[in-house]
Amino acid sequence: MTQPNIAELEKVASQVRRDILRMVHAVNSGHPGASLGCTEFFTALYFHVLNKKLPFDMDGQGEDLFFLSNGHISPVWYSVLARSGYFEVSELATFRKLDSRLQGHPATEEGLPGIRIASGSLGQGLSVACGAAQAKKLNGDSSLVYTLMGDGELQEGQVWEAAMYAPHHGIDNLIANVDFNGQQIDGPTEKVMSLLDLKAKWQSFGWEVIESNGNDMKGLIDSLTLAKSLTGKGKPVMNLMRTDMGFGVDFMVGTHKWHGVAPNDEQLADALSQLEETLGDY
């Protein structure tokens, strides 16, 4: 990887946050909370970390792959895909509308470039990522597979089936990431269903575990660089990424209340006033 230009990446992130808020506001639905919380991650991934090829090709041979498991944070993904050249930025205006390729939760059926699997029903992405990583090995393809899960999503049993599988099969071309924001729909994860010591859990399953701050662009890129350096050593890599839900908007940050609620006109204006329009609104 080349040296990251942190200031440029932060500019992108500011625009992505504007896109997220405007997309969910326009249809009065969608999931802004964790989309805002994961904006640095998606920006870092698509503008610096991933070795990606355009135009989009479903098979993705010879390039890094990314799978979003917690599909409800589609707004941040769609914005970053558009802003990094997968499709026209103007198409963001179709989010969640009839006949759109930008479905409420990511899907392949409409052929949106960048999406390789449907997600929304939680707990399935890690299995898919493991399979894609093994296909890469069979193909002699040395590029990597990334996936992102929510922390609440770790309550799904299938995640732990895949957690057990990956180290057993020596899947070491995989970097899994958890959006560790401590929130889910019904409240803080520790009240809804305790996650306890996630680091120890993943380590005991045989993963190489790192911890990062997902809302610090520089620190996050350093962590993802470290994660990359840990691949190819016989173990899958887990990045437990601390984030704040709603990061970047003062009245949304740190609460589950904005998980799946759109801002009204006033709230949107307030939020946008906190985020510089750096690349031009769609």
Partner: protein
């Protein structure tokens, strides 16, 4: 038509295992996954010859479906192997989202389907799988009748791009279709020509229908027997063509009456060409422990039931 007979019996799951082995030799993209049932699914020969393309998943079927979906990205053609109930109901959401909706080229291969699983009892005797799978958009559903047809179907589905559910079973049953057959997805096969009644049968019930036809013939009734090995897409043309001639229908399957082949045929008839229909299927009930033959008799899905249904439906014409 020549009289259908058999000299040998085998299990349809062995047809799958042998078909998979052949595919391994001819198609380098075919990979096998199994959830701790290699012996039951007859996947051992493939595993032995192609260990680098075989994945032991452990008792984790949900993960297996996701893995298979992921492996298609990069061009692999995954064949998953486990019992039919763990291939469908247990993992329905994984199949729905990661495979069917995502249009992934996964072959879900399911053994020990239906009552003929036998002594293990109702927890394992799934009778709802065809219904669940045929409801999914993008899914092809195949239920072959004997060893040779299962082997041919296994080979054929590798060349079909898209998700497929392939259902087969445990017991040894007559081999009465040719070893050199070419399996055509969605193409119903006329096994016996007749004029008084059409019997549309699938899976293990095709042989029962053939036995029923012999007795019906002795009683002076001319029955046409058609093998519906592909439940979806259904060969509507073949169904309507036969019904135009015979004017009444019996369906026969090792499945619940709700959601099975009978439902599909009833829909075709009601929408196109209404005709009297009798369904030989399990009537809203779970199975139980017993031998396959005992269970087929008790739950009303053997040749005798087909004969009785044929006589009833002819009376309704």
């Amino acid at each position: 038509m020549t009289k259908l007979t058999y000299t040998e019996k085998s299990d349809t799951r062995s047809g799958f295992g042998d078909g998979l082995l052949e595919l391994g030799r001819t198609n380098p993209n075919v990979v096998g996954l199994c959830a701790d049932l290699i012996g039951s699914l007859k996947m051992g020969a493939f595993q032995k010859e192609f260990p680098e393309r075989f994945y032991q998943v452990g008792i984790a079927e949900a993960n297996m479906m996701g893995l298979a979906a992921g492996m298609t990205i990069g061009g692999k053609i995954p064949f998953t192997g486990t019992f039919a109930n763990f291939s469908t109901g247990r993992v329905y959401d994984q199949i729905r989202q990661s495979i069917a909706y995502s249009e992934k080229n996964v072959k879900i291969c399911a053994s020990h389907a239906g009552l003929t699983l036998g002594e293990d009892g109702a927890t394992h005797q799934i009778l709802e799988d065809l219904g669940m799978m045929k409801m999914l958009p993008n899914m092809t559903v195949i239920n072959p009748c004997d060893y040779n047809q299962t082997k041919a179907a296994t080979i054929a589905i590798a060349d079909h791009h898209g998700p497929v559910y392939l259902r087969f079973g445990r017991p040894k049953v007559p081999i009465f279709t040719p070893a050199d057959q070419k399996f055509e997805i969605g193409k119903a096969l006329k096994m016996i020509e007749g004029s008084d009644v059409t019997i549309f049968a699938t899976g293990h019930l095709v042989w029962e229908a053939i036995e029923a036809e012999a007795e019906l013939e002795a009683a002076g009734i001319s029955a046409e027997v058609i093998n519906i090995h592909t439940i979806k897409p259904l060969d509507v043309e073949a169904i309507l063509e036969s019904v135009s001639k015979t004017g009444c229908v019996v369906t026969a399957e090792e499945h619940q009456m709700n959601g099975g082949l009978g439902d599909s045929v009833a829909q075709v008839l009601a929408l196109n060409q209404p005709a009297p229909l009798e369904m030989v299927a399990v009537n809203d009930s779970f199975g139980e422990s017993g031998t396959p033959a005992q269970l087929m008799t008790k739950y009303g899905i053997d040749a005798k039931n087909i004969i009785a249904a044929a006589k009833r439906v002819i009376d309704r014409k």
